[in-house]
Amino acid sequence: MAAQGDAKATYDKLKAEYDKAGKAYTSASRALQQTDEYKKARDDRDRAAMNKLRATLKRPDADGAITKSFETAAAKYAGTDDCVQFLVWLSLSSPNRAAKKIAAETIASKHLGSAAIGEFLENVNRLQRDLGKDRVTEILETVIAKSGHDLMKASAHFSIASAIRVPRGSTLPPDQQKTRDEHMAKAAALAPGTLLAMRAEGPKFQEKRLQIGMAAPDIEGTDLDGVSFKLSDYRGKVVVLDFWGDW
């Protein structure tokens, strides 16, 4: 068990390092956008100048050091379930395409029975370019057929469904829509009460609960200061509910 603690601590440290670099990149990027030079390039729609300015920003893990640390850790715990978290990070988050692919293939060949690949399975469609579409499908079908973990199977069903893309402003042919709905329903049934289930049920929930003229579902949560409140606290008032982000 000591080894497991070590691996987790290493993982948390490396991830924090990468997230810090990501934050530094975001704030540097925001600062750059406030400079006169950048504003001028933007106003002139001068893409080349904008790109040149952006190129001065240091992308997270630009020198590959963090990827290398993740690879070292994955090698140290190779073959064990402790190794999986490092492989999942490498496959989904490393900016190095070769490293991504190797990590994803290692998961696919050795760790599809693990209970720690949920994040990988939910995001594996992003790796279609690296692994090939057929390989991604094969991975997901293997998990559905062989995994002993319902949550992992749910994630795999979810990704098979989401790979069937609904065309913008249009609808899917009925057979494809049916396949998509079936996989989404299986994902929701295998992982009741989870975010994944909510995501899988999203379109149905929207159709049944979020139409004009329907009572708004209540929201219970906390505000930015951590104080709990509910949407229904505002009954008696007209409410503009605004899903927003500062980006």
């Binding site: 934050k23 704030s27 708004a216 929201i219 505000d223 007209v238 409410v239 503009v240 927003w244 982000g245």
Partner: protein, 101 residues
């Protein structure tokens, strides 16, 4: 968006009206600083560290940002994704429909 939201909140400060956000920034500390900078005074739920994939927006099947719902005084959804002047008009109309006590 912020200027319009600020003016709406200011104009209706004494009306039975609330602008409630569901904020999907991952970094709460940074967000709170931005709220100060931008003078964002209205209350928001925080969607959690998963950002746009957090629980509230997931439940509401939010696919685009911002997404807006206008809800009347009885808690019924009356408009979706109305913006700018149309939003002002929608809110005013719903305010006028509240029966006076």
């Amino acid at each position: 968006m912020y200027p319009h939201e600020r003016s709406l909140v200011k104009r209706l400060a004494n009306a039975p009206f609330a602008l409630i956000g569901v904020n999907s920034d991952r970094d709460l500390g940074q967000l709170k600083e931005r709220c100060k900078e931008e003078n964002i005074s209205w209350r928001s739920f925080w969607n959690g560290p998963q950002g746009t994939r957090g629980p509230i927006s997931t439940r509401w099947n939010v696919r685009g940002w911002p997404t807006i719902y206008v809800i009347d005084h009885e808690g019924v959804i009356r408009y979706k994704n109305t913006r700018g002047e149309a939003m002002d008009k929608a809110v005013d109309e719903l305010l006028a429909a509240i029966p006076s006590k």
